[in-house]
Symmetry: C2
Subunit: 112 residues, 2 copies
């Protein structure tokens, strides 16, 4: 199992919409996430000292080919529609890699 | 099981020290964490758009009395010494509750 933790900004005027969307994520989107071997997936939110709100996600990947599973998810039409409604809520970090939306955080500690 | 996710700032000039400390956390501190029914505990780090670095922790509590376990941990002499070396590295959020160091993040999504 491999853990991933990511961060992204959340636009101030989209906080309610993002929470509403994630209180009732489309079943086919959830099904695709599970099919892509992701489990124990949480997203947290907090306003930080700069006055901006950020989203932090934590997930556990239990498959054998993360890039392949992510490509499979990205090719799914329903997932694409879901991202089309979620992405306008998000404010990706300025220093993200060109091909990234959420960015990786660095693990500094883990205890099983 | 109950999940907790917390955030705190990390001082720029303490990043290396914090990473070094957490690469070799004292065994008695780890033992106390487990004794207090905490498992699957990770800490992540990322510099955000405001130029400041933050720490994000995720943990799973499997006991029956979180406040009691946290009080037990806080009363442990070795844990207190550990906190004495870690706390000067951290920069707690300005809007934290008076009795808090790390602050809670709000869960907006979870999938088992």
């Amino acid at each position: 199992m491999k853990r991933y933790a990511w961060v992204i900004g959340l636009k101030d005027n989209k906080i309610d919409e993002y929470k509403r969307l994630h209180a009732e994520v489309w079943p086919d989107v959830l099904h695709m996430i599970k099919q892509c071997h992701i489990q124990n997936y949480s997203i947290y939110m907090r306003r930080l000292d700069d006055g901006k709100t950020y989203l932090f996600s934590y997930l556990e990947y239990v498959g054998e080919d993360f890039d392949g599973d992510m490509a499979h998810m990205a090719a799914d039409a329903t997932t694409q529609k879901w991202w089309d409604v979620c992405k306008p809520c998000q404010a990706p970090l300025a220093d993200r890699p060109e091909d990234a939306w959420w960015v990786d955080m660095e693990e500094v500690f883990h205890l099983d």
